[in-house]
């Protein structure tokens, strides 16, 4: 598996994402102004403050040259993982449903949370079992997932709510404790928590590695891909 990690001006988690993906495959950085995705097998849109997060988080990054290619790649079924600011970028790009709003607390959050795997049938969660509890950090100001109620019903019914904050762990007021959502096809996932910061016991948890291992299994076809 070769993973490309996008680097925007203002990204700050691209190196951790590259290191995390590098534990299960090869990973390289993709520059925001470059349209080429270097024939990678999967793309990660990392955390940070792309283009300063001016106007709205992810609003300007969404129009960068590299994102044009990421959008085409995603529409052709390529796996795309958006983490934190990357989640915001993918929502702004309309690759994912809903939007991220300011935390209810109006404060920047930085803490470890427990997240439950709701759908273990995606390319990013197939190494997990439904109900698995992952300990991963969150660090964001704009992480409150919002979609209108009928849309939330539809997302839940379709298995697009892939990750949820465990009871009592919703840090930001996200509706229905949504921590991660996918597109209808399941090849695009966005989540606010940071699996790339939880890949080594040294930093308290290596649960995040399961998402990268899932992606590798999907790309390298180690086990048959279950239908979403």
């Amino acid at each position: 598996m070769r993973v490309g990690v996008v680097r925007f001006p203002g990204s700050c988690d691209e190196v951790d994402a590259q290191l995390a993906a590098g534990r299960v495959g090869e990973a390289e950085l993709l520059w925001h102004a470059d349209r080429s995705l270097h024939d990678v097998d999967a793309v990660i849109v990392p955390g940070g403050f792309s283009y300063g997060d001016y106007l709205r988080a992810g609003a300007i990054a969404r129009f960068s040259p590299v994102m044009e290619s990421v959008i085409s790649f995603a529409r052709e079924g390529g796996p795309v993982l958006g983490i934190c600011n990357g989640f915001q970028v993918l929502c702004e790009a309309r690759l994912l449903p809903g939007a991220l709003l300011g935390n209810v607390s109006m404060r920047f959050l930085c803490r470890q949370v427990a997240v439950e795997v709701v759908n273990a049938g995606t390319p990013f969660t197939r190494a997990c079992a439904p109900g698995d509890r992952l300990s991963v950090p969150v660090k964001h100001f704009t992480g409150r997932f919002h979609a209108p109620a009928p849309e939330l019903d539809r997302l839940e019914a379709a298995g697009q709510v892939v990750l949820r904050y465990a009871a009592g762990h919703n840090p930001n007021g996200s509706e229905r404790d949504v921590a991660g959502v996918s597109n209808p096809e399941g090849n695009v996932l966005g989540l606010m928590p940071h699996p790339e910061h939880a890949v080594d016991p040294l930093t308290g948890s290596s649960d995040g590695l399961k998402l990268f291992a899932s992606l590798r299994d999907h790309v390298d076809g180690l086990v048959p891909a279950p239908a979403l």
């Binding site: 106007l55 709205r56 609003a59 300007i60 129009f63 702004e92 809903g98 939007a99 709003l101 300011g102 935390n103 209810v104 607390s105 109006m106 409150r144 919002h146 979609a147 007021g173």
Partner: protein
Amino acid sequence: MKARVLIRPKEGILDPQGQAVQRALPALGFQGVSEVHVGRLVELEVDDPARLPEMCETLLANPLIEDYEIVA
């Protein structure tokens, strides 16, 4: 021409910024304030104001969570 775009949180969406301001006002002695919402103002000089709605839909506002109003 000079244009102004007012962007505010869509009705029904929790607006913690507005709520914080609403709670702060009575604490400072300003009674009788309700329905406070905090949004954004974008001022711009445009050659073709007919394109403003498209600019709002594409970039200036996120129609999923925000309403916008173009003020001449």
